[in-house]
Every structure is written in structure tokens, then in C-alpha cells.
Point group: C2
């Protein structure tokens, strides 16, 4: 993959996170399942915002967090996502570029604002997301820089894109471009409810040649409609070329060609906010994979990045992950 | 002061902080003195923003932080400041109201955006501020709710307001309203360079009857144009009815009627970001003072609130200060 201009290019929703703490009672009142992501409209987002406590704003978006993490590891990374010509669009664009990511998506000025997610963090550190997609839904084939996709070792896609027909079409075109250039493709299932909404299409994609599948426990169980993680893992092992399954505090498993590599977690003093744990896990893994490291080392980088992100508020690294990995002796 | 509707009403700039880490070399490149606040125009703010790393956005403003802190202690608090009808205005308004503060300032829609401050945090935790005042400069007498000022036990003013002639006039009218209703008045000098710009006017105010003066070491030294803190403290003791002087890690001193009360600091594991240390110190002190606690207890609440704010990014409390003070056995 030495001819590639980028190690990884990601396509996903360009989102600014609005993160505030709340108690479990507020989740019940708002009527949302803890740990999940749900889509809300402009009115709902106003209602929840007016009821939630003081917040901080920080760039987010699942694949965007992953791409920012890869840049923080020192990887060459690019991102495609749609923003509006407003303050949140400027924040998103600044934050992803200032960490060294190539971000070239056009700004759409049709009155629809930049996407945002109200993230409610409960005292246990768990996050529950209420996302207003806004201009993200405008991501279509026209927004894709196919040349850039063909010039990237790995194309990484977030499952959330499947929630919009236009974005889903862009998703397919991007996959085709990557495949035709002989590149690797990776997919994250994003969320259990998202899997529920698009189960058959996800299964088709995985069986027809996604190279790397990322899923957490609830997502993989939802994909195979089972309560047993072991059963779901067995199915994933058969369906996917390379399946990377995360299980929060229980660590993670990498399944490849009949082999299973178990990866432990790194200790975290206090879990402050789990937002971005899966995204940063994917960052560490994809960075290691793109750099040709063995799967176990890639998994350890993944686990380390996840441990950093859950130790503070927000889903973008607070330290240089490349330095952090060196301090832990994983890379030199 | 039992007839008062609010314990404290603050008037200040309504600002959203854009906080990012940087190294000392970046401060040199930008040409700014570490630990200070300087005013920048729309072009400069763009230049610095494009050069700084990933950031988070959170409500700020010196007096606004103090007022939010008083609300977090359980005090009845109000704030007056001007915002625009934009995203940053919505963020400011949401955050201060959601912590329980009465915030009634009118929204000004003349195309000037809500004020913002680029806060550069160096590895030592010190913060350096580049503030674009934006719509804050529109704070005039017309924006003041004089009835609300007369209904507050203490009127608290930030020195930064002196940087705009219109705001300075509002400042004077507010003082007059508070005095005529028999209320207490408090002033923070805000910043050493700010004192340089308005030395004589500050001295006149202090000598002509501000009840409580807050200043840190560099501000009080700047006020009396001396390199000796002891000399400056002696002068402040003579000029001010009640002078509260903070000295970062060296603790603070309360000077009242010839008496000096020394207050120690509370231990902080890691100083992450000193933004808001002085603001939250003032919050603890004013809360204690308004509630009729003795000066030493007010000083301990002040010191405790400062220790909380420097242990994390941002100048708004991450915990309930009322609970925090109970855990430390200062209030019951």
C-alpha cells in the first residue's frame, strides 16, 4: 500500500457534539434508551436542549472521531462529510483540519444547519445520543472525491450513513471506487438500533466483501438477532473476512481466518464519558493495520486509544496518541 | 439583606470560550503575554483560530463564570450581558440559565456576532486569552434592568467592561442604582493590562465606595504601579473597604478594617487549566458573604471553588459546588 496518499479515508456524518451531564431520571423523561443513538428532528432537539444542564461543544461524528484519532497516531488521514456555512460548521472544519486531517467536503448553504448531537452523560460515564442530522443528510455522490478515495489504503464507512437514502448511495459509490483501485474497505455498524433498521443490507455488504468489520456487543447481537455474544461472534467469523468485536470492559476480539486474538483493556482510573470509545478503538486498529503491524499490536493500539478517550469528556483525543502509544511501549 | 430577590447580580461580557492547548512557542508566535487577556479584532481572531489546535467550546465571561459559580453553590443569582441571535448566543444563554441563573438581557441582531475568547492553554495549565468582544460592546444603559439591580443584595462588576465607553456608562448607572437601594457593590479588576488602561478610574471607584474589591497579584501591583505585593496590599488596605487579594498557589488575603485574614489553597492533583480561577474564587466569596458567613469561611469557599475549576478544562463548575463544599465540611 506504499503508493497510497492516505492511510485511511473516512466518510460519515460531520457532527458537533453538545455534551452535558444528566441523571438517569432525565433519560427516562426524555424517553431514550441509555447507551443508544436516536435521530431527532429540529423540534425535539430544542426540547431536549432546553431541559439539559450546562454543556460543552466539541467536534464529533463517529467516523470523524476515528479519522481524527488516526491523525493523532501520526497516520495520513482524510475525511468526507457535509457541513453548513455556520458556526458549528466552522468548529467542525477547524477541529478536524487542525489535527492534520485532509477535509475537503463542500459547504452546503441551503438554510439547513450543521448536524449536532445532544450527548447526555450519566454518572456511570455512559453516553446517550440524540442526533439532529441537519446538513449531513446532504451527503450524496456529488460530494465524493473519488480520486481521493482511490488514493487511500483503507476506506472507512460509518453505518449511520445508511439512515439517509442519498448518503447510502454515496456509500455504495465510494465502496466501488475503493474496490476498483484495489483498496481495503472497512465498516462500523455504529449502533444496535441502526443495525435493526438496516440488517439485511449490512449482512449483504459484509458477505459480499467488506474487508474489516467493526461491531460492539449489542451491534453484533442485533445483526444476528441473538442474545448470545458467542453465537453472534461465531456467525461474524464465518461472514466477515476480518471481524473486530468490542465488549467494553471485557476487552475485544479479533477474528481472522479461523484465528481469534483476544485483546485486554488498559486500566482507566475513572470512566468519565464513554463517548467515542468505539470510534477511537477503530482508530487505533486501522492505524496499526494500515501501517502493516500485526493484528495483536493493532488491537493493543485500539484498546489504548479507547482507554484515553473514556478518561475525559469528548470524543477527540486530549493528548497525542502517537506519544501516548510510545509511552506505553506499543510502538517505538 | 432578607428583602433581596437575588443574592448577587453580575454585569459583564457574555462570552463563549474556545479553549485549545498550545505550546509556549505558539504564544510567542502569536505575540501575546502568557496569563494575560488581550482584545483582538475579527481578523486577528480568525488568524489565531486557524493556527491553534483542536478546541472545545464552553460558556465563559469573567463575571458570568462567577455568577454561574454562585448558582452552583445554591445562591440566587442573576446576570446581565449582551448576546447576538446566533449559535454562540444560544450556547451562552442555555448554559447560564440551565444552572439556575436569571438571565434577561435582550438579544441584539445587528450582524455583530456573540463575543468569543480564544483561550490558549499551555502545558503548565496557564491560560492566555484573545478576546473578540463582538456584541458585548453593545451593553449600554438601555440593557440594564435597574429594578433587578435594586433587588439584589450585591452588584458585581467586571473591570473588562471599562474597555468600552458605552459599557462603562452602563456600569456607572448600575452602581448608582445599587447604591440608592442600599445594596453592596463589588468590582474585580479583571487583568493587569486592563488596570493599566483604566488605572485612575478604578482608583476613583475604589476610593469613592466600592464595597468589595477583588484583585490578583498582578492586578493589584499594576493598580499601584509597584513590583512589591506587600506595598500594593498595604495601599489596597487603606483605599478599599474590603479588599480580597488572590495570589495563585500562595493562597489569598482578605483585608477588612485593619484585619488581615490569610486563606490557604486546597490541594489540586493536576492543574489542567487555570481559566476561571479568579472568577470562581469570587463566586465562593460572594456566596458566603451574601449568606452572612464570616469572612474566613467565605474565603475558604472561594479557595475551594478555585481548586475545582483549575482541575479541569473550562471555567464553569463540573460538579455541584454546594455538594462539593458540603463534602469538604465547609458548609452543612
Amino acid at each position: 500500500m506504499t503508493d497510497a496518499r492516505y492511510d485511511v479515508i473516512g466518510i460519515g456524518n460531520a457532527i458537533v457534539d453538545i455534551i452535558g451531564r444528566c441523571d438517569d431520571a432525565f433519560l427516562t423523561k426524555v424517553g431514550v434508551t441509555k447507551g443508544s443513538m436516536r435521530l431527532v428532528d429540529a423540534d425535539e432537539i430544542k426540547t431536549i436542549y432546553s431541559g439539559m444542564g450546562p454543556a460543552i461543544e466539541t467536534s464529533g461524528g463517529s467516523a470523524a472521531n476515528t479519522i481524527a484519532g488516526i491523525a493523532s497516531f501520526g497516520g495520513r488521514a482524510a475525511f468526507i462529510g457535509t457541513i453548513a456555512n455556520d458556526e458549528f460548521g466552522k468548529i467542525f472544519s477547524h477541529d478536524i483540519r487542525s489535527i492534520g486531517v485532509t477535509f475537503t467536503a463542500p459547504v452546503v448553504s441551503n438554510g439547513t444547519p450543521t448536524s449536532r448531537s445532544l450527548i447526555l452523560v450519566t454518572p456511570d460515564g455512559e453516553r446517550t445520543m440524540n442526533t439532529y442530522l441537519g446538513i449531513s443528510t446532504n451527503l450524496g455522490e456529488a460530494q465524493l472525491d473519488l480520486e481521493m478515495i482511490r488514493a487511500s489504503s483503507i476506506l472507512y464507512l460509518e453505518g449511520y450513513l445508511f439512515d439517509e437514502p442519498q448518503a447510502k448511495q454515496a456509500f455504495r459509490s465510494a465502496l466501488q471506487a475503493a474496490k476498483s483501485a484495489g483498496r481495503k474497505t472497512a465498516l462500523t455498524l455504529s449502533d444496535g438500533f441502526c443495525v435493526d433498521r438496516h440488517r439485511d443490507e449490512f449482512l449483504n455488504l459484509i458477505r459480499s466483501g467488506i474487508d474489516i468489520l467493526f461491531a460492539n456487543e449489542s451491534e453484533i447481537k442485533s445483526l444476528y438477532q441473538t442474545d448470545s455474544f458467542e453465537f453472534a461472534a461465531e456467525k461474524a467469523r464465518n461472514d466477515a473476512k476480518l471481524a473486530v468485536l468490542t465488549r467494553s470492559a471485557k476487552g475485544s476480539e479479533i477474528h481472522f481466518e479461523g484465528q481469534t486474538i483476544e485483546i485486554g483493556t488498559f486500566p482507566v482510573k475513572t470512566v468519565v464519558d464513554t463517548t467515542g470509545a468505539g470510534d477511537l478503538y477503530a482508530a487505533g486498529f486501522l492505524f496499526g493495520y494500515a501501517k502493516g503491524l500485526d493484528l495483536e499490536t493493532a488491537g493493543r493500539l485500539a484498546s489504548l486509544a479507547a482507554s484515553e478517550i473514556i478518561s475525559h469528556i469528548g470524543a477527540r483525543p486530549a493528548v497525542s496518541l502517537s506519544e501516548f502509544a510510545r509511552q506505553h511501549g506499543i510502538i517505538s
